[in-house]
Amino acid sequence: MMELAISSQGLEKIYPQVRALDGLNLSVPRGAVYGFLGRNGAGKTTTIKTLLGLVRPSGGAAQVLGLDIRKDHLAILERTGFVSETKILFESLSARQLIRFNRGYFPKWSDALAERYAGLFEIPMDRPFGKLSLGNRTKVCHLLALSQGADLLLLDDPTSGLDPVVTDLLMQVLIEDHVNEGRTVFFSSHHLSEVEKIAEWIGIIEAGKLLLEARLEDIRQNFRLVTVSGNSLPALTGPNLISQKRAEKFHRFLVSRQADEFVAKLRGEGATVLEISSVNLGEVFLGLAGKELPCMPGSAGTTRATA
């Protein structure tokens, strides 16, 4: 049983108009870099805010660094570096003043790191936050979150608004100062190639449910996209079938393991197998979250490593 930095069981958040979280089960191992993917409105931000205790869950349970999100949310905030999606801080305060304002809350705050990030990201330290560009605001948010000495970073779309040079620098310091020190990084993103480079685990959320949670290595090694042609194939189901797309004559299936068995079954139904290929993260994401591939095996869709 691996130690988890974040764990949730059937987490729910119900707003008057929408079930933002609909039975979310997350398992984020300690020390992992975990890419949290989902379309706009899928529930990423609600998940992060609920884990931090900034939003009260309607049902279910969750633990962050072993602490209960309902009872211990102050302790969670103390040990977690958080960058919000909106990147909003007090507008009238400069970065220098914000640092002074923030550092007292965090027992493990590092002035050395704050100084390093101020220089590295070329942050205007004395201009009011409200007068900064979106990119510079984002940098200030990162400086504050990354200097806390936090055991866990929860970053909601951390690279939005950053130019490619700063994005690259951010990735470097995340690895150098945080991942290499065994800290856990949980971040949401729409940039799949970024996620593929830095993440070890990914989770895909849609309509408040986790559709898939897997090691990227598992996806590379075991997931297969099977393309077949054949008329009147029966409806197929199975625990390893992640998504399927059916056109008139051509069908595409994404299977999570034992592709050979699945292919044999298809052949048994009279299908002609055209291609069996490995997949990248983009194909998995489009297969699961894209509207074109409707097959969802429900809660059985998560593939957890048993390690």
């Binding site: 990735m171 690895i175 991942v179 290499n180 593929e196 480079k197 993440a199 590379r220």
Partner: protein, 128 residues
Amino acid sequence: MLFHVNTSSGVPIYLQIEGQVKHAVAAGALKQGDALLSVRKLAAELRVNPNTVARAYQNLESQGLIRTVPGGGTYVADCQPGLLKSEKVRRLRPLARQLAVEGAQLRLTTEEVVKLLEGEMNGLGERR
């Protein structure tokens, strides 16, 4: 050493790192006893997960190309110690087969494929 990774190539990142270390050794850019960056340093440099680099290094070590001194860094190993010629040939055969198949599919002649290979070998430089 200047390594780089490309996420859109479809080749797993650890294989890209493995391939680039092998190429650097074959081309003489890395020599016996040269130190490689530590897993953590190379991960930060490439902006990839440290586990990915660790995996590439493990594979290279199990192939005898590099050796890790516990707590003392990672080095290019002495010239493939104890590796029999037959073992070297065995490792290369799948690649040779793939080259032959692709060549035949593109309707290249044996001479053309061999010439191509010669060009690549010569391109590796004077170290060999």
